[in-house]
């Protein structure tokens, strides 16, 4: 639970990092796919967290590995 407090911040930072890498245009196709997949995952999870009950949030956090 203590970890959850900074989940949104971590997700946001990770998204910023991914965005930066994508814009630098130095990643391979495979990497690109992985990064975009991860970004979509993070966004969806954040979105879900905003609208979930506390128990659901805990499950989401575990699944996301933040």
């Amino acid at each position: 639970m203590a970890e959850e407090r900074i989940t949104y911040e971590r997700a946001y930072e990770e998204l910023e990092a991914i965005m930066q890498e994508l814009q630098e245009d130095k990643i391979s196709v495979d990497e690109l796919t992985t990064k975009v997949k991860r970004a979509a995952e993070l966004i969806t999870f954040c979105n879900d967290m905003l609208r979930s009950t506390e128990t659901e949030v805990n499950k989401i956090v575990k699944k996301l590995g933040l």
């Binding site: 407090r5 994508l22 966004i43 967290m49």
Partner: protein
């Protein structure tokens, strides 16, 4: 031995009374004192006291007669219970009365509200100074505010309107955001409130929450005193997560409001702030989505073009190795195209979802903010237009009047006449000769006359 002079008690009392009456002249005086005890029955009896360096230096009884209470109640209004209470320092108008039966008492006729409010300000300032000196004033305010505040430790009086409003407002948010709220009940006004609030604070495990929220439904100016309490302020300042207040007073700010990370006027304002934060965060996520989609689309086009170029190059070298490579390349192109298209489709879906969720936002803003503004501007324009129209009409009317004044008939009616020579109006008499026949037109007829002399101007 001279004979003793003995007085009766009544005589002595009468003498004391006379001395006192002579000394005060029956006038009323403004006196300040602390209330050590108070007993409200039909009349209000107060034990007045003055301390100096912690030692009692004066004590006297005070009475507010029932017939005076109306005036006092009017002077103090809703603050009455906060001013006429044990421990309060008050300033009052009183007459000194001595009664043979009841002894000495101050008959209180009026109580000064401004003095009591001034005392409140003085105590407030003392609290602020102490907090600054202890380095506590900015402690909570310096904490960073999380991107999303979703897990709330709520301190309030359960069952109050403030509590109901807050919960309802959060629950009914139109975006469907969920807030996880743990309630820590405490009274929020009265003498016991600071201690209860501190006790509630100690029960909160800061690792489990994003913020502590302290709300109250409003009250009188002196009701705010609980939130100026030094011990409570110290405890609030030391809370390691942001404290948000909605103590519900428009004009005055308590010390707790000053040291809290996020002070708001009302509980509903806090709820709005929390919802807006979620909305802002979600909008930023949407921004990432749009950015990623753009980068993906760009990369997709660029790499597809590069691969097509390779394929073309290989096609021009018809060896078996090249054929093999060409096949592999084509497969790679196909694979990449599929992956990218899939990703784009998925992102697009995600984006659509967000766009739908966010579509309600501008509508709300338009309704809440733009509508009244537009209405105001329309009214202004209407006022402006009608004022302009009126000015224009005034000018047209003025011009009509002027034109009517210039009508030759009107001019002649006022005694002017037109002189003509051989049918032409005469302007310069130097062009005429003595003996010429002149025709003059008047408002009501004409004459013909012969010129006898000519006298040009200048």
């Amino acid at each position: 031995m001279s004979e003793r002079k003995v007085f009766t008690l009544q005589q002595l009392s009468a003498s004391i009374k006379k001395s006192i009456d002579d000394a005060t002249g029956g006038h009323a005086f403004w006196v300040k004192a602390e209330i050590a005890g108070i007993n409200s029955q039909k009349h209000v009896y107060v034990d007045l006291v003055q301390h100096k360096d912690g030692v009692r230096v004066a004590v006297m009884r005070g009475i507010i007669w029932q017939y005076r209470m109306g005036a006092v109640r009017q002077a103090l209004g809703e603050e009455l219970p906060n001013i006429l209470k044990e421990g309060a320092e008050i300033m009052f108008l009183a007459r000194v009365q001595y009664s043979a039966l009841y002894g000495m008492a101050l008959h209180i006729e009026d109580v000064d509200l401004a003095y009591s409010l001034g005392e409140l300000e003085r105590r407030k300032k003392a609290t602020i100074d102490t907090l600054r000196a202890e380095g506590l004033f900015d402690l909570n305010r310096a904490l960073p505010e999380p991107l999303v505040i979703q897990r709330l430790a709520l301190i309030t009086s359960v069952g109050s309107a403030a509590y109901a409003d807050f919960m309802q407002h959060l629950k009914a948010n139109e975006y469907g955001y969920k807030f996880h709220i743990a309630v820590f009940p405490s009274s929020v006004q009265g003498d016991g409130a600071p201690a209860e609030l501190r006790a509630a604070l100690t029960k909160i495990d800061p690792t489990l929450f994003d913020a502590v929220i302290l709300i109250r439904g409003g009250g009188s100016k002196l009701d705010l005193e609980a939130f100026n309490d030094l011990e409570l302020c110290r405890a609030i300042a030391r809370v390691p997560i942001p404290v948000m207040t909605g103590i519900g007073h428009d004009v005055d700010v308590s010390v707790v409001d000053m040291i809290a990370k996020s002070p708001h006027k009302t509980p509903t304002a806090i709820a709005d702030h929390l919802i807006d934060k979620c909305l802002y965060f979600e909008t930023s996520l949407n921004g990432f989505l749009v950015g990623i989609q753009r980068v993906m689309a760009e990369t997709f086009t660029e790499r597809k073009e590069r691969m097509s170029a390779y394929v073309e190059m290989l096609r021009q070298r018809p060896t078996s190795y090249c054929q093999q490579e060409r096949g592999r390349m084509q497969t790679a192109v196909g694979q990449f195209a599929r992956t990218a298209t899939e990703q784009l489709k998925e992102l697009g879906k995600c984006l659509d979802q967000h766009t739908n969720a966010l579509a309600v936002l501008p509508m709300r803003r338009v309704k809440q903010v733009e509508d009244p503004r537009l209405r105001e501007q329309r009214m202004l324009l209407e006022q402006f237009a009608s004022r302009g129209m009126r000015a224009l009409l005034d000018r047209v009317h003025g011009m009509q009047d002027a034109i009517q004044l210039l009508d030759p008939d009107k001019i002649m009616a006022r005694g002017f006449s037109v002189a003509r020579y051989q049918g032409e109006p005469v302007v310069d008499p130097r062009l005429l000769n003595v003996g010429d026949i002149l025709e003059t037109t008047f408002a009501r007829g004409r004459t013909r006359s012969t010129i006898n002399s000519i006298e040009p101007n200048g």
